[in-house]
Symmetry: C2
Subunit: 156 residues, 2 copies
DNA sequence: GCTACATAGTGAAGTCACTTCACGATATGC
DNA sequence: GCATATCGTGAAGTGACTTCACTATGTAGC
C-alpha cells in the first residue's frame, strides 16, 4: 500500500516546480523590500499607500479590512506615515468616531514612483517575452493562485 | 519623447504578469506560514530545521551564513527550537568556541512531516499538469529568478 | 611561548510588524 | 433614552530581525 510519502524522491518535477515557486517568492519579496526601502518605506507601510492610491480616501477600519490586519496595527502604520508626511488624517464628514485617511501630494508622488518601479521591473522581467509564452506563463500563475486559495480554507 | 512612465496603462500584459507573481508570492507565503504554524513552528524556525535537514549538523555561524541572517539572530531561533526539543547544541570537536547544531530525532520527524506537506502541495498544484506545460512553466519561473537576481546587486 | 588579532557565541538594547484586551467616544436601533 | 455595536487608540506582549559590546577561544608571527 503506497502513499505519497513512500515515494523515493517525491513527486519529481512537480516538487522542483514548487521549489522554484518558493524561490521566486523569496527573491521577489527581497527585491520589493529593497525597492521600497530605497524610498524610506517598509513593505507594510507601502501596502497602506498602495491601498489608498488605488481605492482613494478611506476609514482606518476599511484600511484594516483591505490589508487583512487588525485596526490597531493600522493605527501604528499610519502614525509612521503621517510623521513622514505621506498621509493625512481628517475628520469623517458624518461619523465623528472615524477618521478619513488620504494620501498627501507627497504620498501620491512616492506611490507613483513605486508604481514606476514596478512597471520597470515588469518590463525587465517580461518585456522581451513573446506574447504567447507570456500568456501561457501567466495562465499558469493564475491556476496556481486559484488552487492555492482553494486548498487554503483561511481564504482571503 | 515617450518614456516608460508616459504610457497610459504601463507595459500592459507584463504588468499583469508581475502582479500575478506578487499574488502568488503572497498567497504561497501565507499558506506556508499556516502549514508551519500547524506544527507549532514559525517560518524562520522552520528555515533553520530545513537547513539542518539538508546540510547536516552545522556551526551557528554557518547556519547564519546559510540563512542570510546575523549570528545573533540564529542564537535566538535556536534557543526556541532547543526549548521545543527539536535541535541539539553540542560542543564542537575541535573548536571550543563553536557549538555544533543538529536536529534531534523529534526535529527530524517534524522536518520530514514538513517535507511531506510540501510534496502533497506540489501534487495538488502540479500533479495533473501535462509534462510539457509544466516544464515550460518551470522554465519561465527560472528565467524570472535569474533576471531578478541579475537586477538586484544585493544578490544572494 | 607570548603577544596581536580574528572569530564563535551571547547579553543588552532597539526597530518593525503584528496581536489581544480594555476603554472612551460616538453612532444607532427600538 | 438607553442598550448595544462600532471607531480609534493606550497598554502589554510576541517574533524576527539588527547593531554593539564583551568573553572565551583559536591562530599568526616573532
Amino acid at each position: 500500500m503506497k502513499s505519497l510519502h513512500d515515494m523515493p524522491e517525491g513527486p519529481g518535477i512537480a516538487r522542483v516546480s514548487l521549489d522554484r515557486l518558493f524561490e521566486v517568492a523569496e527573491v521577489l519579496g527581497a527585491m520589493m523590500q529593497r525597492g521600497v526601502a530605497e524610498r524610506g518605506l517598509t513593505t507594510a507601510r507601502a501596502g497602506v499607500l498602495w491601498a489608498l492610491f488605488h481605492d482613494g480616501p478611506m476609514t482606518q477600519r476599511a484600511l484594516a479590512g483591505q490589508l487583512g490586519v487588525t485596526p490597531r496595527n493600522v493605527t501604528g502604520l499610519l502614525d509612521a506615515l503621517q510623521a513622514d508626511g505621506l498621509v493625512d488624517r481628517a475628520a469623517h464628514p458624518t461619523d465623528r468616531r472615524a477618521t478619513l485617511v488620504a494620501l498627501t501630494s507627497k504620498g501620491r508622488n512616492v506611490t507613483e514612483a513605486l508604481r514606476g518601479g514596478r512597471d520597470e521591473l515588469a518590463a525587465v522581467l517580461f518585456g522581451d517575452m513573446p506574447p504567447g509564452r507570456l500568456d501561457a506563463f501567466t495562465a499558469g500563475l493564475e491556476t496556481v493562485i486559484e488552487r492555492l486559495r482553494a486548498a487554503d480554507p483561511s481564504g482571503r
